[in-house]
Amino acid sequence: MSGTTTAVASPAATAPGPKDGGGGRERRGGAVRRHPRWTPWLYLLPALVVIGGLLVYPIYQLGLISLFHYTQAQASGGEPATFQGFANYSELLGDSQFWDVLLATVLFAGACVIGTLAVGCSLAVLLTRIRAVPRLALMLAALGAWATPAITGSTVWVFLFDPDFGPVNRILGLGDHSWTYERMSAFALVFFEVVWCSFPLVMVTTYAGIRAIPAEVLEAASLDGASVFRIWRSVMAPMLRPILIVVTIQSIIWDFKVFTQIYVMTGGGGIAGQNLVLNVYAYQKAFSSSQYGLGSAIGVVMLLILLGVTLVYLRLLRRNGEEL
């Protein structure tokens, strides 16, 4: 494929043999020309059918619902749905709480993404430097955290940090310090839980990636006397980029939409709503009282924000010469 630029993939490097005049074919453009134009679309077809039918169509409905006064009474046919233009949006954007919550969400999600990636990547590097037994122990612990349902994970964490009934305050000698009273300390507690349950994915993928980097490359870097951090920045990270892009984008999407952890751990958004994030806010404003019109409007706004973030991220990558 002509788009791939790395040395390993170039046919000249791997297939030097004089097999059937390969050079000639190469000049004619290789695989790409062989296929009719619609071939990629044929391969994409099943995915597009699934995505189109099960995602695009519902999202279209979502946009539609967001323009209506649409509650449970409308959904179940008790009352007719009335078109009301952008009323749901203006209600949302006119709510000063929405902007507070949006800011908190962006900061909190940003912290979670960075925290998760940092912890995941450093532990991945750590994994490459230790022998099998401790490695297995850490790996299993991480896999366990990953496999735990979010609702249980959050519940257990609340138990652990309970000022009256939890062991953590006793171990750390914090007396009856309440983690959920102050806004920052409550966010911090949730942050730890989010990192706990999402770092394993990053760690395992990154570790696998490092393992796949040719040993000579790392060895050469070590011989040059580069520090662990330098090796990571200048050797590992560039090679791991395809993986890191995926986990970064996914982390952004997941952490921006964090719900269960906040809902369970701070009792639905913290004292007087101080720990609300967008998804929990949406739940309280709309979904739990079946105001689907307003809820859909929040959904559309979240979609637009995340889409914006993702596009900016992808654009930055492209500016750095990264191909998707």
Binding site: L64, A75, A272, S289, L311
Partner: protein
């Protein structure tokens, strides 16, 4: 930005098509069949077996009377009931004929077009002359009955008999005494909360408001208007929020607690008193306080008064979409009837909604006496309005208590803001 452009195009397409309406369902029954399968949804309780046994008997009795009918009972987890019932409303094909539902949901389900009006049958049913007034209120919307009460749940004051004996205290007889007794306990035994209270424990706080003559909301024309900012309500709010502090229940820990956490604190041996329900008995029996607690009605402002408690509980209703309406109402009478309520009390400890049945069972089981006394003294209910669901879900009242407790606002300010938010929802 080719991507952005095509996404925008997609969005425009959506707008252009906005003329056509989003999907809805067409509910409503067409027939009233007299045979076939009757589908019933009941809540799956923790430890559901005894309930199943009672229900099995009910079904057997019913099927004996109606030869051509089979009853299919399903137990749904309490935590998924909202989704299930919404699903049933959206897809009448999947809907059952009879459901059990939490009594605070009545107005909402009626508005959603879910529950059938059974006022006539309710009036003709002899047993209902004994139905508790508040229980009846909890199935009534705009003067019409949309179901029958199955059981009530009510809260009273739990206290530690051992602690009270050791400190030579008597169970408090006024709300003022609760505060002073609580502070004494905390002073002598700093490892305990005097009385465990929670900033998110709305149903524990409401009796304080009601006892001082306040209301959550008052009927105004067709709808309600918030009343939490009335002078009486503010007195009650102050009395409750004054219980938070280092001399009883430190705000740092108690502001966040809900009903369940306060009960857990008491059951775990961390509190001298707590406001708990008859349905919390098992938690106490499993906890550290087993055999060391007593219950009295939550006292009012004056000696001899009982603070009005919130009457929770579940109802049984018939769905509007049911095509077995007559059969469904018959089943409702069987399962919410006196005999079943009595059996459910023995099996599950559910308090009957018929006054005479309740009296009868209270004699057999001394534990429920203070709760029955509370019920008899008169209970209160949340505003029967579909808006209540939203007020409850958006945590307006817990938010108000927490703002006061954490010192973010004073009673005046917080209750004024809460009233404003409530009115906004009522007006919708």
């Amino acid at each position: 930005m080719r991507i952005a452009a095509s996404v925008a195009a997609l969005g425009m397409a959506g707008l252009a098509a906005a003329g056509c309406a989003p999907s809805t369902s067409d509910g409503g029954a067409k027939e009233d069949e007299k045979s076939g399968k009757l589908r019933v949804w009941l809540f799956r309780e923790v430890g559901n077996k005894p309930k199943e046994k009672v229900v099995d008997d009910v079904v057997a009795r019913y099927e004996k009377k109606h030869k051509d009918v089979t009853v299919d009972v399903q137990y749904i987890p309490v935590d998924s009931r909202a989704e299930k019932i919404k699903g049933a409303l959206n897809d009448p094909e999947s809907a059952p004929d009879v459901i059990e539902y939490g009594n605070t949901d009545t107005a909402g389900y009626v508005k959603d077009g879910g529950l059938a009006d059974i006022s006539e049958e309710f009036a003709d049913w002899g047993a209902t002359s004994q139905t508790d007034k508040t229980a009846k209120e909890s199935v009534t919307v705009d003067g019409k009955q949309y179901g029958a009460p199955l059981f009530v749940g009510v809260r009273a004051l739990y206290y530690r008999t051992d602690v009270f004996k050791e400190l030579d205290l008597k169970p408090p007889e006024t709300l003022g005494e609760i505060a002073s007794t609580a502070k004494k306990i905390r002073e002598k035994k700093p490892e305990l909360y005097g009385i465990a209270v929670g900033g998110a424990y709305t149903y524990g706080a409401m009796p304080f408001v009601w006892a001082h003559g306040g209301e959550l909301a008052e009927p105004k024309g067709e709808e309600f208007a918030a009343a939490v900012d009335s002078p009486e309500a503010r007195k009650g709010i102050k009395a409750y929020t004054d219980l938070f502090g280092d001399d009883n229940c430190p705000a740092g820990k108690c502001a966040k607690m809900g009903g369940n956490e306060t009960v857990e604190a008491f059951a775990g041996g961390k509190a001298g008193m707590a406001i708990g329900g008859d349905f919390n008995r098992q938690a106490m029996e499993d906890g550290a306080v087993k055999g060391k607690y007593g219950v009295v009605p939550l006292p009012g402002v004056k000696k001899g008064d009982i603070a009005p408690a919130f009457a929770g509980g579940n109802n049984i209703g018939v769905l509007k979409s049911s095509d077995h309406r007559t059969l469904a109402v018959d089943f409702l009478k069987e399962i919410a009837g006196k005999r079943t309520q009595e059996e459910l009390f023995s099996a599950m400890g559910f308090l009957p909604t018929f006054s005479d049945t309740r009296e009868k069972v209270a004699k057999k089981e001394p534990f429920v006496e203070p709760f029955v006394e509370t019920l008899d003294a008169g209970t209160k209910f949340v505003p029967v309005s579909p808006a209540w669901g939203e007020i409850d879900a958006s945590l307006i009242l817990p938010g108000m208590f927490q703002e006061i407790v954490s010192g973010k606002k004073d009673v005046e300010g917080a209750s004024g803001d809460a009233a404003e938010k409530m009115d906004e929802v009522f007006r919708k």
